[in-house]
Amino acid sequence: MKRTLALTGNESAAEAMRQINPDVVAAYPITPQTELMHAFTQLVADGAVKTEMILVESEHSAMSACVGAAAAGVRVMTATSANGLALMWEIVYIAASLRLPLVMAVVNRALSGPINIHCDHSDSMGCRDSGWIQLYGENPQEVYDNMLQAVRIAEHPDVLLPVMPTYDGFIISHTLERVDVIGDDEASAFVGEPKPRFSLLDIDRPVTYGPLDLQDYYFEHKKQQAEAMKRAKEVVREVGEEYGARTGRAYGFFDAYRTEDAEQIILCLGSAAGTAKAVADELRDGGRKVGVLKLRMFRPFPAEELARAIGHARSIAVLDRAEGFNGVGGPVCPEVKAALYKAGGADVFNYVYGLGGRDLGPDLIRSVFDDLEAGRADPREAIHLGVRS
């Protein structure tokens, strides 16, 4: 039975985890993820889930325990933020390379230093090449929806890759909003039972995980991993459509908002998209042709579909909530530019914003649309939006 709840992003993720009822969760607390695991361990203590909860001594151990459990063939979840994700690093790659369908919520937080507990995407963007599927959620509702879908995507036999649903630390994790949740039975029916193909515990069909893999086969295994990531696109689409049919909330690779005839488009990820849509509506009321493209799926990167959706625009601003330290801007913009390479004449500008939780209000977003319309921005250099000089 459908219910409407007042939940923070973290509580919303915990509610999804309650319904998913994973077999094993191993986690270590870190702000702003802590409340998620606080809520979930309470559910374990109350007997509301049957999960074996492993409280470990570090994030490196958390991800290692998840890898072991997933290789055994059970459904495994965890969550972290920023420095915790950094400490998991080598095992994050191993989870993907061993094709283990883990789901890990990443509550986006600035990767120190100087030390900062607030939101930016430097943590999850850092592992964009680790082989995990990445889904960025805009609000607590999408956090819930993405968590349920992540399980299906990860475990799909065509995929078998770990999935990282992310959401903005504090801005979403600690903001209470209205969240519509589906019934426990419907959620169970949607995620289904895990059907491991290669369980370490299946002694009748012994398998090896993580052996030495040198010049002879390593390259072939990497190619298979890359192909699985390509196939994940179709699965993300199918699962998003099925979820929509069941709940009325369909999901795709991105949310193209009033972009069809737009001359200026802002492309962004996560919580910034909602504020940008509100500003776009206001400018549309004044007769301006503006739109917003919210990129939900950053890995795999939907290059062709993106080019079709925004290639017609006169100018596009890509908003990056991470500094790439590459001398030209953030991590999302170069991929958008590459996607648009053959699509036509749109000028693409890069704005880096919101580092360490710096607020992105409507005034700043309006200034970006104004820059685009007036042709004020310099395409060669990223603009740091809202930074003091």
Binding site: T4, A6, L176, R178, A278, D359, D363
Partner: protein
Amino acid sequence: MKNMTEIRWHGRGGQGVKTACEFFAAVAIREGKYGQGFPEYGPERSGAPMKGFTRISGEAIREHCGVHHPDVVVVLDESLVVSEDVCDGLGRDGTAIINTARPPSAFAGRCAGAVWTVDATKIALEEIGRPIPNMPMIGALARVTGLLDIETIGRNVERDFAAKFGRKTLDGNLRALRRAHDEVKRDG
């Protein structure tokens, strides 16, 4: 656009800004509206100035940023009127509700909008026994804005805080809520 009411709370660490901004949003959501509540997480020190934000709307709320142009500001600590620009961004048709023993006229010229006052600290001391002004200020906010009915808020106070408070403190909070609702006043 202005189907939405944006509220900014000003207080000091320990006065209950976080609880108030989230609770008000939660009640609105349970009443079938859309709501959003969150504090500004700075250095968390008792007594440090802090802000909270609540948005209430009949439609989905898309903004995820601080409230820069509030319709209502709720000031839990009078000293902030001097030390911070609590009315920053408040328009002429906006409203400020200040916890103070002084009348609204004492704040003439400080805010562009209408000023309402209520002695929430005194009410809290008398009814709850502790100078925590958030519950009476919720009552005042309900009265001034008409966004939520006081009986509805009372039921939700019971629902959310009965386990935490115990009967005596809960009853004190309910009395403080209703008293501030009735006592908040504006000039004229």
